[in-house]
Every structure is written in C-alpha cells, then in structure tokens.
C-alpha cells in the first residue's frame, strides 16, 4: 500500500467511506428483512383469524320467518287421539306449505310454488312438530310461530348472496328474493342466536347441523386419552428420571421416545387400524379407539415434559428426604412427585390440546362416519371436532362454509382455554429454587 501516492489519500478516504456506508446499509437490510419476516408471519396469523371470524360469525345466528300456521286436526293428528304417537306422524310440512300459500296468495305456476316452499327448510317441520308435541292443546288453533328459514334464505338474509348476480348464478331466484324482501318489510323475518348449532348433532341440512355431537365425541376421546396417557406418561418419566440405571436400554428408550414424538400422526392412525381394529377387533368410529391412538401419540410429549418437571426439582430435596431415612420410592412419592406435579399437568394439558386438534389418525380408524346421534359413551360411534370441520369443509353448500368457520372458532376457543389453563397453572405453581 506504500506505493499509493499521497495525492490519493482523499480518494482512499472517500472509498473507505463508501465501503463503510455499504456495510452499514447491508446491516440495515438484514434488520429490515428480519422485521419483515416477523411482520409477515404475524400478518398471516391475523389474516387467518380475521377470515375465519368473518366467515364464521354468521353461523352463530339463525334466520327465522314468522308464519301464521293453522294446525288443522285432520292434518296434524291423523288418528285424532292427541297422543304423541299420533302427533308424531302429522304432516307438519303440509301445514307450513299451506301457511306459506296463505301468506303470499295463490301462485299458479308449480315451479314458483316449489320455490315458495323452499323458503322454509325441513327444519321448519321439525320445529313445528316439537312445538305441537309439547303442547297438544294447540291442535286446531291458528298459531303464530317463528320457523327457521332454509339455508339459502339464511345466507341471503345475512348478506352473503349478491342480488346483482344473474339469477341462474345464485341459489335464490328473483321471486324468492322478492318474497324475502316482503317479509323484511313486514318485520316477519329476523336473526336470532343459533341454539341449534350448539345443541344438535350433524345433519345433511345446514340449518339443522350442530356441533354438540362432535364436541361430545371430542370430550369422550380426550377422556380416554387423559386416563391412559397421564398415568403412563408420569410413571414412565419417573422411572426414566429417578430410577433407570444409565445403561444401553435406558438410552434406547430415550432415543425411542424422542423419535416417537416426531413420527407423523397418520402413522399412528395406521397403527390403530392394524392393531386396535384389525387385531383386537375393537369397534370402528368409537372414542375408545380414538382415545387409545391419541394417547400413544401424546405419550412422548407428556413423558418429555414430565421429565423436565422432575429435573427442575433440586437434588437437595431428595437428599434431605434420604437423610431422614426415606426409601428411594418414598422420596419420589412423598416429596419429588408433589413438587413436580404442576409441571407435569402443564405438559399434559399441552399434550391434550395437541390431541384435540388432531385429525389425520382419526380418519384412519373410521371416525369420519356421518353420525347424527349424539354419542353417549366411549363405545358409541362418534366423530370429533376437527373431523367434523373436515367433513363440513367438504360439503358443497355455502351455508356449510359458515358452519365450518364457526366450528373452527369453537375448536380454537377450546384450545385457547386449555393453553391459558396451562399458562396459569405454570404461573401459580412455578417455583424458583
């Protein structure tokens, strides 16, 4: 460098300045990229939640139409006995059709008449039947009732259908829209909180489909999972952490647990299909089998977190207990385990939250069946919340998109509650030694 003439000092200085600027610019770029990466991930999260909330909010409401229905005894009570045996056979759909005809006047064309009847879905007849069965005295009277509108009317009334579309591109005809608008002017159509969604099982009709069946299925499945994986996981962790000799076998078990934690969930489904269903002959679609599969799947998570909780208990506790003459088992059961339990419970809740969101292995063991009845125990055929979401997401009706998003909101709410519980538990019992 000595051969550079002195006159170049200024230029050299300038070059160094430029280089430095470039180096700092690079640094700023890196920083910007880092920020951008985090921001994009968070934005995506926001976008996901916002879309689901926007799409699903409507499902918590149900559109109802007010009708004056004449409960003609000949129609409603075919045997004329007013007993539930006879009332259950009544032609409620016919009564509703007649009421609709009275409401909107005579309609000549058969096609239009059919369109008129489509304003109220099959859920309307069920609602009316339930009403009459509860109060048989109503037969023969003219009653004013709010009946659930069909899913197409429901979607239109909630504003999801663009009336400017061409008639054949939407599910509601011009005539039907005119009727709905007429109802709206008369105040004979309203939106109320959708209790059906929370109190009934699955259905082919969107306006009658609910998540209670899936929620119960998830509950029974998780119950089985908890009953199996928590004791097994805790005992395995206690053995590995407190008693296992440091030898090859313990090493193998340890590597094996770490590997199991990363095996794809669908492989556990195949295991369940081959072992529990094929070999042991347990029933398909039962929460028992689902719970068993999920228990095996969450076991590694619970073992790993339970071991961490045991590790966090300081050796001085163990030594003090040993010092006053406790046996090694007593040290663990009387002193270490109670101190580590909150940490183990936190890990278990997180494992259960994972199990609650799991879908793929349950598809393998037949929990995808279309099941209307609410499950009453761990042997009844059932489906679970995530699988219900999967099933609804596959359905073509627009109204099921809304239902799917709402079911996702319910699932996420459960997950949030479980995770919050875990955080609270950790906060309350966390100890620094």
């Amino acid at each position: 460098m000595t051969d550079i003439p002195l006159t170049d000092t200024a230029r050299k200085e300038e070059a160094r300045e430029r280089l430095l600027k470039k180096r700092y610019a690079r640094e700023r770029r890196l920083r910007f990229f880092g920020m951008a990466a985090i921001a994009s991930a968070l934005l995506f999260l926001l976008f996901l939640f916002a879309t689901i909330f926007y799409q699903g909010w409507g499902a918590f409401f149900q559109t109802q139409i007010r009708l004056e229905v004449t409960l003609d005894p000949a129609r409603i009570d075919p045997q004329g006995t007013r007993t539930s045996d006879s009332l259950v056979r009544g032609d409620y759909g016919g009564a509703i059709k007649k009421a609709l005809k009275q409401r909107f006047g005579k309609i000549r064309k058969r096609r239009e008449r059919r369109q008129l009847y489509q304003l109220i879905g099959s859920a309307g007849a069920d609602t009316l039947r339930r009403l009459v069965m509860a109060e048989p005295d109503l037969v023969g009277q003219k009653v004013t009732v709010w009946l659930p509108a069909s899913d197409d009317v429901d979607q239109y009334f909630k504003g999801y259908v663009d009336p400017d579309l061409k008639e054949d591109e939407r599910r509601l005809s011009d005539r039907q829209i005119a009727w709905v608008e007429e109802l709206r002017r008369d105040g004979a159509i309203r939106k109320v909180f959708n209790t059906t969604f929370f109190t009934s099982g699955d259905s082919r009709e969107p306006e009658q489909a609910g998540i209670l069946g899936a929620v119960l299925g998830s509950f029974y499945t998780l119950l089985v999972t908890l009953a199996i994986s928590f004791p097994l996981g805790v005992m395995a962790a206690v053995y590995l952490e407190e008693f296992a000799p440091k030898n090859r076998i313990s090493d193998i078990i340890e590597v094996n647990i770490n590997n199991l934690a990363a095996v794809p969930s669908i492989v556990f489904g195949l295991l369940g299909l081959a072992i529990f269903l094929d070999l042991f002959g347990l029933p398909r679609s039962a929460p028992l089998v689902g719970g068993l599969v999920l228990a095996l799947m969450t076991l590694p998570t619970i073992i790993i977190s339970s071991r961490a909780a045991l590790k966090a208990v300081p050796p001085s506790i163990r030594e003090a207990a040993l010092g006053i003459g406790a046996s090694r088992v007593q040290v663990v059961t009387h002193h270490v385990l109670p101190l580590a339990l909150p940490g183990m419970m936190t890990g278990t809740i997180i494992g259960l939250a994972q199990a609650l969101g799991e879908t793929a292995p349950l598809l393998m063991i037949g929990m995808v069946a279309f099941i209307v009845d609410l499950p009453g125990g761990i042997m009844d055929p059932a489906t679970v919340l995530p699988v219900q979401i999967y099933l609804w997401a596959d359905s073509p009706e627009r109204a099921f998109v809304e239902k799917t998003s709402a079911a996702i909101m319910v699932l996420l709410a459960f997950l949030i509650v479980m995770n919050l519980l875990a955080v609270l538990l950790r906060r309350k019992f966390e100890r620094r030694w």
Binding site: R31, A41, N259, V267, F268, S327
Partner: protein, 462 residues
C-alpha cells in the same frame, strides 16, 4: 362392558384384603411379644395383601378373555352347524359375529331363521353361564392369593420392599410402552407391506410411474389389478415440501436472526409466543384456509397474470404448510443462535466487523449445524403433514413439475385409500400400509439425522 363386573369384583376383594392386612399389622403393633416393632408401616402390609389378592386374579381375567373367544366360537359353530354347511370361513365368521352382536342387543335382526334364533338364545344362555363361572374362578383366585399372603405376613416381613419392587415393575412397564409402540408401528406396517409386496413387486411400487389404485376396488372387476407406481406421489410430496420450505426457511431463519440478535427482551417476550401460535393451530384449520381462501386467491391472481392455476394446486398447499412450519424453524434456530457464545461475537466486533458481518460470517456458521437440524425436522414435518394436503392439494396423481397444478402426496393417498368401506387384504388397502412404511422410514431417517446433528453441536459449546 362385560368386563365391568369381574373387575369391580376383584377390586372389591382387593380392598377387603387391604383392610385385613392393615388390621393385622395394627394388631401386631399392640402386642407385647413382638416388641411392638414392625418392619414397615401398617399400610404396606395392607397393600402387600391386596396385591397378592388382586394381581393374580387380574392376570387370570386377561387370559380368560383371550381364551373365551375361540371357545364360544366353537360352541356357536356347533349350534348353527346346519346353516354353516357350504359357507366359507369368512361368511362363517360374519354369521357368528352377527349372532353375537344380536345377543348383546346390538344391531337389528334381519333373518329370523329358527336356527339363528335358537343360536341367539343358546349364546345368551352359555354366556351367562360363562360369566358366572368366571366370577367363581376369580373369587377363588383372590381367596387363594390372600391365603398365600396370610401365610407370609408377619411382623418381620419386609412388606415395604416387596411393595416397592412391585411398583418398580409397574414403572418399568410404563417406560417400555414407548418401545412397544414403536415395535407395534414397525410390525404392523411391515406385516401389511409384505403382504402388499406379495401382490405387487417392490420395484413396480418404488419406480412405477403410474398410480391409479381406484381400479382395484373389487377382485372381479375388469382390469382389477390397478397400478401402484408411487413415483408421482413421491414427486408430489417432494414438490409440496419444497414449496413449504421455500416459504418457511427464509421467513423462519430471518425471524430467528432478528429475535436472537436485534430484538429487545420485551419484544421477544411478546412476539415469540405469538409466532408459536402458528404451530398450535390444528392442521385441519390450515387445510380449510388453504382450500377456501388461499387457493381461490391464487387462482384469481394467476388468471389476472395469465397463468392457469388449478383450484387445487400444489402451490396453495405448500405455501400454507410453509407458514405452519415457520415457528418450527424459528424457535429452534433462535435457540441455537442464542447459544453461540458471546466471546465469538465479541471477537468479531473486536476485529471491526459490523453486526451484519458478525452475524453472517461468525454467528451463523457456528450455528449452522443446529439450524440445519431444525430445517431437517421441519422437512420431516412437511412430509408427514396430512390434513393440509388432503384438503388443498388434490387427489389426482400427476407427474408434473408445475406447481400450479394439482398434485397428490403419500399422506393424501393413505387417507383416500383407507377412508370409507374397505376390504381388508385388497391390494388397495395394503398399499396404504406400504406407503405408510415409506413415510415412516423417510421421517425416521430425517429425525435421527436432525437429532444427531443437534446433539453433536450442543456438545461442542456446552
């Protein structure tokens, strides 16, 4: 549910034995001639007696349950011998299964053939006899066990040691469940795969270019062999994983660098859990989002730019999967970057490096093995991920390099092959297990590699 009664009986008898053991120990404590000294606390004598009472009985119950099935089967076969003539083994078993279900009050009676009705009645009779016998045998076993315990029980008996030994056996058994699970996975996958490879040669499966198992639904159909060339599935899996990694690696790595090197502790505390929410969202939610929001967006966007993007495209599934994987890469990489010793950074600053230079030339190379490990783990997740691809990637096995087209993956095919009514032993069902085996082996290799890399790296700096 028929196990309920015997189990309750055994537990009840066990509780009685416990009371008896404790009572005996307490009585000794009061006596002068033993010096009032017991080896263990009274409770241990109780548990000792209860274990002797209940454990052999429960074991017996287990054996009984396994032996009962075949015996009842033979009995029923004899009952319906007339109907069974001319039926093959499968139909025989189905008929007897039906009878059993009907006797338990499940299902609806369809054929009221007198032989069947008689068989149902006979089955009901014999099963109540069997249940009564079981209860008697269990009670006897409990009594015998308790009698043995009674002979052994004495103030000098090391009851605590014995109980602790039993507990230790239980703990050890729990720890081996994990191993049993792995063995179960390997055996079930391997067993069914071998049966599949007896029908379809391994080379056809691994190197065949055409995948259309749907033709092989029933054996009597024309062209029922189907074709099981899995290369299109491997290609689809590879393509979707590649797209996912193209999203997850840059974003995850950049986030990790920012978190580890630039962010204030407050920012970290808030943002890190937020990012981890991405990993906690159920995959079915991502699948729904990919299929109903991202895919239409891509299709419309593609149409605007003149591409044709299929409504179920590898791109949509891959992108959403990539987003799901961000936290996997960012948190693990964050950990390894933070674990790089300060001295390395300070050395770099001392030589006049800017922060950018210190990060890219010193910290990242030092953290590289850990970062590579986290990426491998994420790849293994991407390969095994099911719901997103099932809902968004499509079913047709296209062998294409165009990410805008629908592609299918190993996991999607496993699901489609096994959903719905299946005939066990058909090549179609068995193919799912062969695919599962491939999946298991692939992810196992990736996981072991990742764990080894991470472990080796940790040893270097800790």
């Amino acid at each position: 549910m028929s196990d309920f009664l015997p189990v309750i009986l055994v537990l009840l008898l066990g509780a009685l034995a416990y009371r008896w053991g404790v009572g005996k120990a307490l009585a000794w404590r009061g006596q002068k001639d033993t010096g009032g000294a017991l080896h263990s606390l009274p409770g241990y004598y109780g548990i000792y007696a209860a274990l002797w009472c209940a454990l052999p009985a429960l074991l017996l119950l287990l054996i009984w349950r396994f032996a009962e099935g075949p015996v009842l089967f033979h009995y029923l076969s004899a009952l319906v011998e007339g109907r069974l003539a001319g039926l093959d083994d499968g139909a025989r078993q189905a008929l007897i299964g039906d009878i059993r279900r009907l006797a338990h009050g499940e299902g609806v009676l369809q054929a009221d053939h007198p032989v069947i009705l008689a068989a149902i009645a006979g089955y009901e009779r014999i099963s109540s006899v069997v249940m009564a016998a079981l209860l008697v045998v269990l009670t006897a076993a409990c009594a015998l066990g308790t009698a043995l315990a009674m002979r052994r029980l004495s103030p000098r008996l090391r009851a605590r040691n014995a109980v602790e030994k039993a507990l230790m056996a239980l703990l050890m058994a729990s720890a081996t469940v994990a191993i049993l699970t792995t063995i179960g996975i390997v055996l079930s996958l391997l067993g069914e795969s071998l049966r599949f490879f007896a029908k379809v040669p391994v080379s056809d499966f691994l190197f065949g270019l055409s995948w259309s198992p749907q033709t092989a639904i029933r054996a009597d159909q024309v062209g029922s062999s189907g074709s099981f060339g899995a290369v299109p599935l491997f290609a689809g899996t590879f393509m979707i994983s590649l797209i996912a990694m193209a999203v997850a690696v840059p974003v995850g790595l950049m986030s990790a660098i920012y978190m580890a090197e630039y962010a204030s502790p407050r920012f970290r505390d808030i943002v890190k859990p937020l990012l981890e929410i991405l990993a906690g969202i159920p995959t079915v939610v991502y699948g729904f989002f990919a299929a109903l929001t991202v895919a239409p967006l891509l299709r419309d966007g593609g149409a605007l730019l003149g591409f044709s993007v299929a409504s179920e495209s590898a791109l949509a599934a891959g992108m959403v999967m990539g987003i799901m994987l961000i936290p996997f890469i960012s948190s693990l990489s964050d950990d390894v970057i933070t674990a790089v010793p300060r001295s390395l950074r300070e050395g770099a600053y001392g030589l006049g490096a800017t922060k950018y230079e210190a990060i890219t030339q010193v910290v990242l190379p030092a953290a590289l093995p850990g970062v590579a490990g986290s990426i491998l783990l994420a790849v293994s997740r991407a390969i095994g991920e099911t719901m997103i691809v099932v809902m968004a990637a499509g079913l047709s096995a296209n062998l294409t390099a165009n990410p805008f087209e629908a592609m299918t993956t190993v996991t999607v095919q496993i699901v489609t092959l096994l959903i719905g009514d299946q005939e066990f032993d058909s090549a179609k069902t068995l193919a799912a297990f062969a695919l599962g085996l491939v999946l298991f082996v692939m992810t196992l290799i990736l996981n072991i590699a990742a764990l080894m890399i991470i472990r080796k790296y940790r040893e270097k700096y800790d």
